[in-house]
């Protein structure tokens, strides 16, 4: 075989990706880092270097901490309930029976449904006047709250939709994990007289823990990324009770045009996600051996 260099072909193959990743992914990280150290208001020409002043302002800002708190609330909700629901449904589906695929499809459809469309439907379901939920409650003579117009109830409604939208994804990942567990474990346990509850807690749960770990990290990261759903349902209201970090950033950047300040917010979130991903790598590399 003729020994020719691969380099020219590799260049051709990689060039489009390098240009676009470079321009719209890698350069922006550096540029955001730079912008974060400057004051740049409106789309003015003047840009003023102010060091870490933006970061000082953010740390002192009530809005930022409120957004962190709200994001954390959302995160705990979708992580816990999303993973629990995904696991329960995966366990129910993890056997061959007629109609299995239909159920899997049903549970998975919300994952691929447009968030905007879904958010509009959910907004309608929880409409205080004509929504299905309050009409249903009225039937039992229970007065329903204003849901998305109530600072107490808005976030629980948003979390419920978040769980609805992602449980199918968690289910699919869990199903693949459950199917990779060797049946021998259960046979041995059964011979030893372990009941079904014991088998679940002693075999299934520990063996799928790397998957659980991965899904937790994914849910946590997704909580920082949430935007569309809340933009449509409440746009951060009422009284900032659903003002997640993505909305705070969008508002500062594209409503108030505080580009330096919002870049600094972006860098903080990037740092948080970076640390979480780093911890996940360590967590996974120690846990992974259990299954693979």
């Amino acid at each position: 075989m003729k020994k020719s260099s691969d380099i020219p072909v590799a260049m051709i193959c990689l060039l489009p990706s390098i240009i676009i990743f470079g321009l719209f992914n890698i350069f922006p990280v550096l540029y955001s880092g730079y912008l974060g150290l400057n004051r740049w208001d409106g789309l003015k020409r003047t840009i003023e270097f102010i060091g870490i002043q933006n970061y000082r302002d953010i740390i002192k800002s009530i809005e930022f901490w409120n957004s962190m708190k709200v994001t954390f609330y959302y995160m705990v909700g979708i992580t816990f309930f999303g993973i629990a629901a995904g696991l329960i449904i995966a366990l129910l589906l993890n056997r061959k029976f007629p109609g299995q695929t239909i159920f899997r499809t049903i549970y998975f459809t919300p994952v691929i449904t447009s968030t905007i469309a879904a958010a509009i439907v959910w907004k309608y379901l929880f409409d205080p006047g004509s929504g299905y939920i309050n009409t249903f409650l009225r039937f039992f003579r229970v007065p329903g709250p204003g849901w998305l117009t109530s600072p107490t109830w808005a976030m629980p409604v948003i979390i419920t939709m978040g769980v609805w939208k992602r449980l199918g994804f968690n289910m699919v990942i869990y199903l693949a994990g459950l199917q990779s567990i060797s049946p021998e474990y259960y046979e041995v346990a059964q011979v030893d007289g372990a009941g079904s509850i014991v088998r679940f807690f002693r075999i299934t749960l520990p063996l799928i823990s790397p998957i659980t770990g991965m899904l937790v990290i994914m849910s946590v990261i997704d909580s920082f990324l949430v935007f569309d759903q809340i933009f449509v349902m409440t746009n951060g209201g009422p009284l900032h009770s659903t003002d997640v970090i993505g909305l705070l950033l969008y508002r500062n950047a594209f409503r108030y045009f505080k580009l330096g300040y919002s870049s600094a917010i972006g860098m903080i979130i990037f740092m948080v996600i970076f640390i979480i991903t780093f911890l996940q790598r360590r967590f996974l590399s120690s846990g992974e051996k259990a299954l693979w």
């Binding site: 366990l91 029976f97 691929i112 439907v121 409409d127 693949a176 049946p183 299934t204 594209f254 870049s263």
Partner: protein
């Protein structure tokens, strides 16, 4: 000990076993949960078919009086045809770009030898964890500088490549035996010829999985189109829907007609390519 029905032979997993008396309880749970998941869709459909004068009357699950009129009226109330067209153009280019460029990049990472290969792959992979929070503003400024605001270029070009796609195809290409390449290269096939004639035809499952991923991503995307378009004529279907919602907030029947129209292509794409799509998720999700 719980006696299992004949069709429950494969892999009892502890907890579900307890639920599993005769399968009836299982079905009951699955149907109950399934109903909860699917109810929003039923309500959406019902509402979209409801006559205007009934929107504030007590809701019912199935429309008593059908009318398709809402669909036509919603379609005319906003330039939905234009939104549809914009989204279709954008989606076609993004899907084609992501599939072609991901295949090329993945091929280079799997089969070609060049200095810095591992580092470059790591850099590509790490772009997956860069959140929109840091890329959004600079990308917007770049697009602004290039004079691309309110153009298809802005909607398409930044999303022509996908780190996820490169990763997915790389995982798949690794399973194709290298002997095939050697045989082809003996026959005088060039490096790019091997990609085109050997690797691509053998990777159709992975390529179609990626095509569905890209389709769903492009069709459903919201934030980037929101930032780079202002003119109603350049809006995508998701933006148009959100805008429609702001304008016709209480005309639920029109709104739901618009919602159905906007979400059908993605749901259809998923239903058609479901098997490949789910394989793709498990291939990248579990080994990622």
């Amino acid at each position: 000990m719980v006696k299992r029905k004949s069709y429950s032979k494969n892999k009892p997993t502890g907890l579900a076993d307890g639920f599993y008396y005769g399968g009836i309880v299982l079905y009951a749970f699955l149907i109950l949960f399934g109903l909860i998941v699917i109810l929003p869709y039923l309500w959406m459909l019902t509402m979209s078919l409801k006559p205007v004068k009934e929107i504030f009357s007590p809701p019912y699950l199935f429309p008593v009086h059908f009318q398709l009129k809402n669909y036509f009226e919603a379609w005319n109330a906003a330039p939905f045809a234009r939104f549809y067209f914009n989204t279709a153009v954008m989606t076609v280019f993004i899907v084609a770009g992501q599939v072609i460029f991901s295949a090329m990049a993945a091929y280079a990472f799997v089969r070609l030898k060049f200095p810095g290969r591992e580092i470059l792959f790591l850099i590509f992979l790490s772009t997956m964890m860069v959140p929109f929070h840091v890329t959004l503003i600079p990308s917007y400024l770049i697009v602004l500088r290039l004079g691309w605001l309110d153009t298809f270029k802005a909607l398409i070009v930044p999303r022509l490549v996908s780190a996820f796609g490169i990763f997915l195809l790389r995982q798949y290409f690794l399973t194709i035996p290298a002997e095939l390449d050697h045989a082809a290269s003996m026959d005088g096939c060039s490096k790019l010829g091997i990609l085109w004639r050997i690797i691509i035809p053998l990777s159709m499952p992975a390529l179609s999985a990626l095509a569905i991923f890209s389709f769903l991503f492009a069709w459903n995307d919201f934030l980037w189109p929101l930032v780079v378009t202002n003119s109603p004529l350049m809006r995508t279907i998701q933006l148009g829907l959100a805008m429609f919602q702001g304008k016709y907030g209480t005309r639920w029947n029109y709104l739901m007609a618009g919602t159905v129209t906007a979400s059908i292509p993605a749901i259809a794409a998923f239903l058609i390519g479901q098997r490949r799509f789910i394989e793709g998720i498990t291939l990248t999700g579990l080994k990622g």
